[in-house]
Every structure is written in structure tokens, then in C-alpha cells.
Symmetry: C2
Subunit: 611 residues, 2 copies
Amino acid sequence: MTQAAATFARPQLADCIPDLVAFARGEKKATLYIRNGTLVNVVSGEILPHTSVAVVGTRIAYVGPDAPEMIGETTQVIDAEGKYIAPGLLDGHCHIESSMLSVTQFANAVLPLGTTGGFFDAHEISNVLGLPGLRIMLDEARQTPMAAYMQVASCVPSTNSMFETSGAEFGPAEVAEALTWGPDMIALGEVMNFPGVVYGDPKMIGEIQATLRAGRVVDGHYTWPVGDPRLAAYAAAGVSGDHECVTAEDVAARVRLGMYAKMRRGSAWHDVAATIKAHTEQGLDSRRMLLVSDDRICDSLKEEGHMNFIVRHAISQGVKPVTAFQMATINTAERFGVARDVGSVTPGTIADIILLDGNLADVNVVMTIARGDVVAKNGKMTIDLAPFPYPDYAVNSVKIAKTLAPSDFEIKTPIQSGTIKTRVAEVRENHVETEETFIDVAVREGKLQVTPESTLCKMALFERHGKTGGSAIGIVGNVGFHQPAAIAMTVAHDSHNLLVIGNDDVLMAKAANSVIEMQGGIAVAAQDSDLVKLPLRLAGLMSTEPYETVVNQSQEISQALVKAGCTMNYAFMTLSLLALVVIPTLHISDTGLIRISDAGFEKVSLFVDEA
Amino acid sequence: MTQAAATFARPQLADCIPDLVAFARGEKKATLYIRNGTLVNVVSGEILPHTSVAVVGTRIAYVGPDAPEMIGETTQVIDAEGKYIAPGLLDGHCHIESSMLSVTQFANAVLPLGTTGGFFDAHEISNVLGLPGLRIMLDEARQTPMAAYMQVASCVPSTNSMFETSGAEFGPAEVAEALTWGPDMIALGEVMNFPGVVYGDPKMIGEIQATLRAGRVVDGHYTWPVGDPRLAAYAAAGVSGDHECVTAEDVAARVRLGMYAKMRRGSAWHDVAATIKAHTEQGLDSRRMLLVSDDRICDSLKEEGHMNFIVRHAISQGVKPVTAFQMATINTAERFGVARDVGSVTPGTIADIILLDGNLADVNVVMTIARGDVVAKNGKMTIDLAPFPYPDYAVNSVKIAKTLAPSDFEIKTPIQSGTIKTRVAEVRENHVETEETFIDVAVREGKLQVTPESTLCKMALFERHGKTGGSAIGIVGNVGFHQPAAIAMTVAHDSHNLLVIGNDDVLMAKAANSVIEMQGGIAVAAQDSDLVKLPLRLAGLMSTEPYETVVNQSQEISQALVKAGCTMNYAFMTLSLLALVVIPTLHISDTGLIRISDAGFEKVSLFVDEA
């Protein structure tokens, strides 16, 4: 444990009441006073002009007509000049690791965009470093002004050691322990082992029970089609939120069963346009609908935005603006039981406030106030966040001792020549799932021939937690490389072993060795090009560099991929899911190829015997 | 403490999950199965035909299309035949004592009407018996099938010993203790001392802090007009719900500040028709609007109904039926943080379900299921509730040793004859507040002449908790007695001393002595009539008799009042508030006449010196 003494840096309301009533008596003046804005009131669902807000310390003391008597000599007065005043935006489901930024740099990225808080599932670092990794995220978050609530990941590993090797394992005891760390340990993270819940896996049931007994909520991840009783069983077992909705019917089914349906707009998974129709077309009550990012790479934080972009996008799909704001503020806060503290601009809540200019539908954030302080203006941070001191083990987590050779990427076949029917995982742009196909692939000298001409790539996975030293290899389609190329990365959901994808054994070895040498990150190797590298030193997942640096490096990776022929939107993110065995349909782990079906998980062979 | 070992009789979800997943696996069959109803889905806001519900033990395991495979040999199957299936109704603010029924008899009264739970503020018994009284209510509630959540009263007494003498005093320590009794100790009851909150009374602030630190919510009671910063101060101090809304603007002001606005339809306070316009006319989001009863005497439970009546009434005022149901189910559950357990028919919640026949707008409840069992059909209970064993102190609480004489009701004047300007509390039908007027009253032989001809009555109050033995006397207008008559009662909010109202000293003494002799209750004495009595043995507030008996006795009291000329709607309830000093404007306590003004509480004299 690092920094075990750190506590949630947002005081409880009970402790603020003396100051708030001293203010009511007139004995204290506001520390911050916002005059004459147009309030986006997410509780009443109204837009209320001529509204002023007084803040005392960290909390809102007053909302109403201008009350200049609340201003004292030291009060910071902001004249909103009619601009919109709205609650800071909340991300109802987000993996900070997907941004490849540290928590501190994530805060630097999203605070100017109006995101003042989120419900973060540090699932990735937990898979690599276990509870100490989660604790690092929590402690680093506590150094930021964000309302950063952390979830304890439920599926570490996402399946079990039969199917994959992770750096740590969580069970009910780890969940119970993590939930004692503070009020900002808010929930059990997405329970991806939904078959385990529905059919009563004792570990999953135990984790859910530990969470409910701690008075916290359980988030879900359910990908079976709706329409049979299993979703109801999942809900009955205590899972009360889910972001794996890809159709309006998915949303409707969840809301009807009392769950919070989270509508996702990640960098590469674009579900809001379809899912929002549960409200805009089917007319369902929106109170249990949330907008979430799930996974947004730093590039898209820069290019598109964060919750500001997602709220704007929802409005563009026909949602009333105030309703879209509700989906990223009060609905989210209510889902996690913290509406007393965040999610609305109302007396007694913490002063997480944004000002917006122009049309509300444009969600043009021009000022961000977090915990009572102005932290960003006109898209720029106005305060500096201190760097977090990472322990050594957190920045030296790639435990592969040997240098990989091109021969490590050869695939031996049961035949010497001809073609062999091969199981292929086809990636799909902007989708998390793969498609399983079967392709006849050429064989020469007992080895599978995967070349740029074949349009296929190899995918190889090497255990990197210093445990089994195991590896596996398979075939992936639709990557798009039209020249010899390879990408290696330690971001490989969810066990984050070393994943290498390519159509040239030499380049695959080169990229892989580069990532090992960097102690984590991404490297793209292509013929006649320099290696392009993005170091991700923190657990092999996150950069320790500033936001802008990481964006530049990430864009270079993307450009290198495009140059090699891989033109998918945020291709890296889609490729990094090739090891995520809990998503349909076919994936790779260090133990082999894993297929998900209605029956659950199964190991399958690369070659299909047609006999 | 009685029955200290009793616990909340509703198992936590965590403990039910093993059964729920065993059911999902098909290893268990439903204990109760409701086939083919039309679901009032208060989460999605939809009416969904062809819906079936499976219950396993106490909780709902499945909601969806007919699934006959869930039915086993011992399953109780109910064919809904298309009837509406809705969540059991919840009363978001209710004093059971006002029904004059014990908790058990209250359950017998309201379960057939579709109320399966409530948030009960046992404020009255707490004022008489202190924490042991609250514990009796809690333990008795735990014997019923209701989701009976109890609040710990915040204002015991409603002001302080300078203004009134109660049987007990609560402070932060008592609040903290009561909130440790179980998860059904849900909130701090209505904080009537709102000036104390706004201006920082340490006791009130301490109670609120103790409540928030226990993870519970604070209910309010704020009667100052909205439109100045004090309501925001009250909200900032942690008070998050309030039922003292009498206009649509009252509701709007509270919701805009993030509070839950409770719209009341008590027996004698009819606020819904006006307050509901905040939604029906002003269009405010209804998610933080609740329907509540506050105080309903047993007669009106019988004649009108309980939450079924209030929901029907709200619909008649233009609220969409499913929205009105939300206001008495999920909104209420969310307000108190228990939507995981009650307030919707969704998997994992406790099976508190009602079936309704005919038009939904008629709220015609034909079956009530509580905690997974059918408890009422066609307006009648189908199970017997065991009587609760009250300790002796709870049924012997009227500590007035002496017999009162007619002379105890004389009012001496500073003049010997003529008229004297007298301060009068005018009661108003269907309103909780009194009006203060000044009337010239005749004086003869140094005594105020209050006779049937004067249209005024005396009101006398005698301390009955065995503490000070104090008493006071004042004048009340608009009671309506047109013949010599008197009513005496130990229901006299909130300290529940002995209140006697009448225009004849002999009859006042007669009624008062009868109540003392009964050890609590109500008695009406009129010329040429027998005394009419309603014994309220439990704390002088509640009957220990069956519901029907109490209704009959209460109706006899009403008839006796009408016969004497007091024709106000539920006159007894309005009269019983004449000692409630926290309500505007003029009231009586054992310490004298108390007036509430913008400045707070003050003692005032009966006679006004015009010099």
C-alpha cells in the first residue's frame, strides 16, 4: 500500500454544516460567488435565468436571486453574464487507464472539458498490480480536485486462471478490504463474468454480497441478447447498472428491470446514437439512463472531448438538453448514492460547477469549478496538480526475462503443405466484439503462412506477470496491414499480458522486444520505418508523461498503423481488446484461444478438423 | 427497551442472493407466481401488458413474459387476468399515532388499501415516552409484514422546555443511539425547529450531523414563506425533504434547491390539489415529488383510504397515472435510499406488490402482497397479526394526580367588569395553522365570560408527564360550539399534554377528568348528553383496540362534536393542533400562549394592553 494515510479530499456535509449555518447567519461571507447565470437545474428539469450561487469553502451555500450581501472583501466574484451554470459533468463508467494517462494527467485533460467527477473502475491496473495498484489510483485521485470515485474491479482476472493469467486475483476478501478504504470506494466494478452470476459462481456471488453488505452498489457487464430470463436473474442477484447496451432494446430491458442503463460513447464504441432511442423514440423515463465514456483514449479526449462531447452528441440525437445534462449529472450521482454531494447545483452539495457559453446544446464549457475552486478557464487548467510518486514495482511490471526471437512467432501446422482451415477472430471497427470466421490458410514446410498478401495477421500473447511464462498464438482478420508490420503492447485487456499483432515474424519480435525494454507501452514496427514507441511505464498501461506528450505519442502510433494499412477508428483500442475473453466472440489469452458462446467460455483450437 | 432483540424482519438482498441464483439455475421454483398482469413499471414509466412476476421467498426473482417453467408443485399461482400489477404504495411521511391506531392495527387498516410500507415518524409517542416509546413502535412494526421504516424524531420537544413540557427530550446522543437500532431506522424526523437550523442551534445541528454521519437522511418542516435565502440555508444544512408545502411555489422552491417536496393529503390538511400544480402546470420534473399522508385519523382511512386515495386524488388533479404511482413508490424509495428493496416491481426487490382492477386511475386495490405473501384480498386482511405486548409504563402515561374542578378553568382578568381585548387563536378548517385575532370579550366579577353565546371557547392545557404540573389557559375561536360543550384529549401535538376546549367550566372539568381516568384518550361532554369517550391507552395517543372499534369510537366523538356545533372536517385533528407551537400563528402550551413569527417563537399574553 502506498500513501495509506491519504483520505478522500472532499469533506463530508456533516463537517461543513457549522460553516454553512454561520454563513446563513451572516457571520461568514461567500468564498466564491457566481452572479447572474442561467441555471441548468437538473433536479427540477428547468432552465432558470438570473440565478446566483454562493459557495462557502467546498460546498454550495446558496442558489437563488442575486444576494450581494453574501459577498465579502475576500469573496471571489465571477460575473456569469447570463452564461449557463450547470453541475460539473460526471462520467458514470470510465476506465482511466484507457486514456493511457495517469489519474493526474487525466484530471488535467478532462477538468477543462467540464468533467468534475467520475466513477472509475481501475480494473486494468488491478489486473496487473492487484490491490496495491488500485490503491495507487485511489491515492493519486485523492490528490486531484475531482470527485473521483473508485470501483473495486470484480473480475480480476476477467475469467479465471484456467482461461488466462493475470497479475493478481480478487475475490470477496479483496473486495471487502478495498471497500473499507473510504467513502470514495463506491462500487463493485463491472461484473463481466455474467454467466458466473446467473449460474451462481461462489466467487462472483461472494463479491456481490461483500459489496452490498458494505452498502455499495454493483455495476454490470452483460452481453447476452435480451429477451430471456437471464438478465432478470442478473438483476435479481444485485447487479444494478450496466453499460453493455448496444441497442435501444438493451436499454429498455435493463431499465424495465430496475437497472441503470449506461449509454456509452467511447473512442471506438459508439452506442449512444442507437441506445438513446429508448428515450427519444420509445419514451422511457430517463431517470435511470446515464451517459458514460467507458474507454476514451487520450487522443479522443483531445480531438472530441469527454463528457461534454457525449452530452452534446446525445442532444444532437434528439434528447432535450436539460435531460441530457441529467444523464451526466444527477442520474449518475443518484445511481451511486452520492447525490447529496455531487450532480446538481443545489445548497449543501459540493461546488463542482461549470459555466457554459453560447447555446446550451453546444455544451461549450468555458469555466470549471471543482470543490469550490476555479480550476480551469477557456479550455486550460488554471491550477497545477502535483505529480504522484509511484513506487518502483508500479513502474517495473513487465516481467519477461528473455528476448523474443522471430521463431517465437512461428505457427506450426499438423500438415506440411497445402491449406488448413483456420479459426480467425475478425475485428470490427467501432465495436468491442469480434466475429469468428474460418479461413483456409496456406501452409508451407509445416508452418502457417501469414503474410501481408494473406490479409490476415498473427496475434501472439506472452504472459508478463512473472507467473507462468506461457504464451499462445492465433489469427486475426480485418486488421488491414497491407505491408509487413507489427504492433506490440502491454495494454491487452484485461490481463494486460504482452500482445503482439503482425504479419511478419521479424517485425513482431522487434516490436515486442521494444515494449519489454520500455517496461510497458506500445510499439509499431514496419518495414523501412523507425520503430514508433509510446512508453506506458505505470503498470504497462499508463504514461507518466504530461497529457500533451502522450497525445502526441499516441497520434504517432495511430499514424504508423494507418501507414501500415490499419485505418480503423482508434485502431489501437480495438486491437487491445483482442485478449478480452469476456467479450464475444473469439479472443486470445496466454492459455490459448477462448471462445464465448451461450454456454459460457470454452477453449478452442486454432485449426479445425473437418473430418 | 422492550424486545431489544427484535430485528428488521426483511432480509437483506445479500442474504437472499443464493436462493435467487439457485432459482435462476432452475434448482428452485417460485414460491409465488403472478401470471399475466399489466405492469405499472415505475422505473421505465411504462404500462406493460402480459407481464408475469416470480417471487422466491421474500424477493422478486423474475419480471417478464410468462415463464411457466418457474412454477413448481408448491408454487402459489395467482392469475392476474390482465389486472394491473404495481409496487405496493409507500407513504413518504406519516405519523401512525395520528390514526389513533396501534402499529399493528394501522397495518390491518392500510395493507388492504395497498400501502405496504412507509416512513413513519413516531414523533408523538417519542414526546411522551422518549426512546423506549420509539422502540415500542419499531418493535411492533417489525412484527407486521409492512416495510415500516421509522424515523427518529428531531424535535422532542418541538421547541424546548422554556416553551413547553414534554415527556422526554432528544438531542444528538438520542438520535445517534436510535439510528443504531437497525436499517429500518431510516431518517431524522421532520426538523420543525427550522429557525434553529437556519440560525445554528447546536442541538439541531448536532442531530443533523449525527444523522448524516450515520448515513441517513434528514426530513424537514419549514413554514416560512419561500422567496428569501433562508430555505436555501435550511437545505444547505442537510435537510433534504419537506412536507410543509401548501402552494405550487412551495414545491417548486424546494425541488429547485434539491429537496424532495412531499405533497400532503392528510385527513384535515388538503394540500395536493394546490401543490401538484408544480408538476401539472409548471412542468417541473416529478422525480423529487412525493405523495404523503402526514396525519390521517382512522376514520378517514376507513372513509377515504390511505395512499390509494391520495394517488387517485393526484391523478384526478391531472397527473399521469404512472407518474402519480411513481410519487408514492419509487420516488419515495429513492428519497430514503431504499429503492434496492422497495418501490418497484423489479428483480431483487422485496415482493411488496398490489393488484388493481378496473381503470388504473381508480386505484382500486384488490390484492396486497407484502414480503412475498398475500396479506389482503378484496379489502380484507387474509392473515392475522399478533397483538403486541405493551409494557405497563406505556399504557399508564397520564400523570395528573388531582381531580380537576370547574374553577380550574376560570380565567381571571385585570379588570372587574366591562370588556377586555383578548388574544384569540382562530382555527381554520382543513388547515394546520391558526390565525391570531383580537376580540373584546366581556368580563364579569373579574372573570372572562366565555359562553356559548360568545362563539369563543377556552382552551386549557395541563402538563401530564408528571414533571412540572403546570397549566395554562387561552381563548380559541371558530370551534363552532353553539351549546355548552367541552372536549378533552391527551392527543395534543406535540407534547401531548391534556388539552381541554370548551365553553362551560363544569363540562370542561368533566371531560378532562374522564380522560385522566381512562389513562388517555378523548372525551366530549355536552349538556344533556352522555359523555362520549375514546380511550387511547397507549401513551395517551393510540388505542389498543381493533381498527373497526376505534373507527366507531372516533366517529362517535365526531358526531358528538357536530351535535355541539363543531362541524369542521375532522375537527378533532384540527383541535389537537392547538398546542402545536411550531405551526403559525398562536398556540397554547403548559407554559402559556406561544406565538410564532418571522423572528421565531415568543410567549405572549392573553390580554392586550392598549395603553
